[in-house]
Amino acid sequence: QRRSPLNDFQRLKATQLLSMSQQGPGPEQEEPADTEECARRCTVLLDCRAFHYNHQRHSCQLLPWTQHSAQTHIQRNVHYDLYQKKDYMQNCIRADGRSYRGIQSTTEKGKNCQQWRLKFPHDHRFSPSLRNGLEENYCRNPDRDERGPWCYTMDPAVRHQSCGIKKCEDAVCVLCNGEDYRGLVDHTESGRECQRWDLQHPHKHPYHPHKYPEKDLDDNYCRNPDSSVGPWCYTTDPAREREYCHLRKCTEKRPRLADTTTSCFKHKGEGYRGKVNVTTSGIPCQRWDAQTPHRHHFRPEAYECKDLRENYCRNPDGSEAPWCFTSLPSMRVAFCFQIKRCTDEVEVEGCYHGNGELYRGKISKTRKGITCQKWSAVSPHTPQISPAMFPAMRLEENYCRNPDNDSHGPWCYTMDPSTQFDYCAIKSCAGDKTPSILETADNVVFAECGKRDERLQLKGR
């Protein structure tokens, strides 16, 4: 009863499906409806294959085609989400594949399929209808063949042949803990159907797809967003919150992690393989293969790709940095922030004196290696400092300069739209000393900031 009709659909966010030749889709249904009601309407219509959901009008438009239909194309439109029936979109099958409505039209041996409406080269008894989906020459399973979808072939010597379409659970195998699994299995190991990640019923959960864009929490497919032992999903059974999915383990050798480091860590340190085994504040880490003082599920044998050796700081779950369970019963986990981050700065060329206000060199990249924007350009950033404002500074081309006497050296606007300005890959010249601050004293004046109600300091809540 708690199954959502949306479970039969794949969603493409901010997408509109246009058809160039076919008759237009039905009018947008004026009556406000939610996505589940739209899915319900589409499900009962044999000629409905997809629908647009219009977020502005809270209405939908049922469509008789999908993006795989001839002469259709999809385009970005932030007002629409496109929902297409899974049977038409997936290239793998569930059970015997009788509901498969994909567009594969060759057999497992590579023979072209015969059009279902034709009786040549092979005569047969199947008549295409909306219900049996025998269209074009696509692989289908109208007689519930246990080997899955098949077709009559264009080879007069071979009457019919299986198309060899894999079951979804076999189509994509699982490496390591399946955090990279992007297959299409949507049932758990006990056969329960998965709940869509974008729904909060029957189970309320924190894994909103928009919060975890890199986890691809698509539709109701099995995923592993929380570094569990394997892919899992919330189930549509109100009595069972979540379950693992039964998926094929890859037999091929696992790939080597590209970003492994030992003396420092990159990004979140998931590739850190060094031997630091104390937390930032010096507390020894608990061994990963121990369950005291803290019980946990990060058993080394269950996380073969995470290198949970000894009691070394690691990041098996995508936390902010390498961490460990601590040997203190009162402190469960702690980060190992004392491990340095690997520098992501490029090698510097040249040097500047003072603050670099007289630097006139031709370096034109930032410390991160991003190319500088021309001082005369207005995109990607609109500069607040232009060559005309500071003619003496020679703000030429995109060379690093220091027109505002920034104490941290020459800088530039960058070509990265998300980084307005940054310091350049130039260092202060050796032996160039800046005056010490420790002998000077300033008169201090402050305005509104820094005030607090001291009564709150004393008052309990």
Binding site: D344, Q384, I437, K451, L456
Partner: protein
């Protein structure tokens, strides 16, 4: 905070990951800007969607209906000059200032806090059995000159760092406090003089604690906020 007491620090913010778990501290320097430490963030161009800053409440894990709590998504992260280990976080919308949320002053550029100035650290990090681990804890620390600090730490302290004096009883920042403020009282105003950086030992007795000296980076902070 080790050796602290539950207290009020209306500019101290809690930085939360996508699961809503506190992992670092920060200081509100403008309605839409928080300063913290680089070590808390995976990269300078990291995707911080769904990370948020929580402020206005003394509780580490306030109830969803806490009327004082403000939770503001982080829009952008800007890394500070290379040696600073500072980051500025731009919030998706301005914080509402009130009794429980206030801005902390920035020091004048290159200002040196006089020795013995009364300062305090605040955070929701580990308490080591002191204070109250469900609340914001605050501890007082006096400033130590770099000269004396260098004598204690064998000359390893840079001008861009600021020390507080060692206390007999262990008082200091610990796991989960990193990125938070060292706020010092100057002319009746609290000023962000330091940022708590990850250190090897929490509240080591008879050893000074070292912070990033904010006054050396005020020009950068103002430039980022202006631009």
């Amino acid at each position: 905070i080790i050796g602290g007491r539950p207290g009020n620090s209306p500019w101290t913010v809690s930085i939360r990951n996508r699961k809503g778990v506190h992992f670092c501290g920060g200081s509100l320097v403008k309605e839409q800007w928080v300063i913290s430490t680089r070590q808390c963030f995976s990269s300078c161009d990291t995707d911080l969607s769904s990370y948020e800053v929580q402020l206005g409440t003394l509780f580490k894990d306030p109830s969803p209906s806490d009327p004082d709590k403000q939770a503001l998504p982080i829009l952008k992260l800007v890394c500070g000059p290379s040696a600073s280990d500072l980051v500025l976080l731009k919030l998706a919308r301005p914080a509402t200032l009130n009794d429980r949320v206030a801005l902390i002053c920035l020091p004048p550029e290159r200002y040196v806090v006089p020795e013995n100035t009364e300062c305090e650290i605040a955070g929701w990090g580990e308490t080591g059995g002191t204070g109250n681990k469900t609340l914001l804890n605050v501890a007082k620390l006096p400033v130590l000159s770099n000269k004396e600090c260098n004598m204690a730490l064998r000359g390893q302290v840079k001008e861009s760092e600021l020390c507080t004096a060692p206390l007999r009883a262990g008082v200091g920042a610990c796991e989960g406090d990193y990125g938070g403020p060292l706020a010092c009282l100057t002319h009746d105003c609290w000023v962000l003089e330091g940022v708590i950086t990850p250190i090897r030992v929490c509240a080591r007795k008879d050893q000074p604690a070292v912070f990033t000296r904010v006054s050396l980076y005020v020009d950068w902070i103002n430039k980022v906020m202006r631009m």
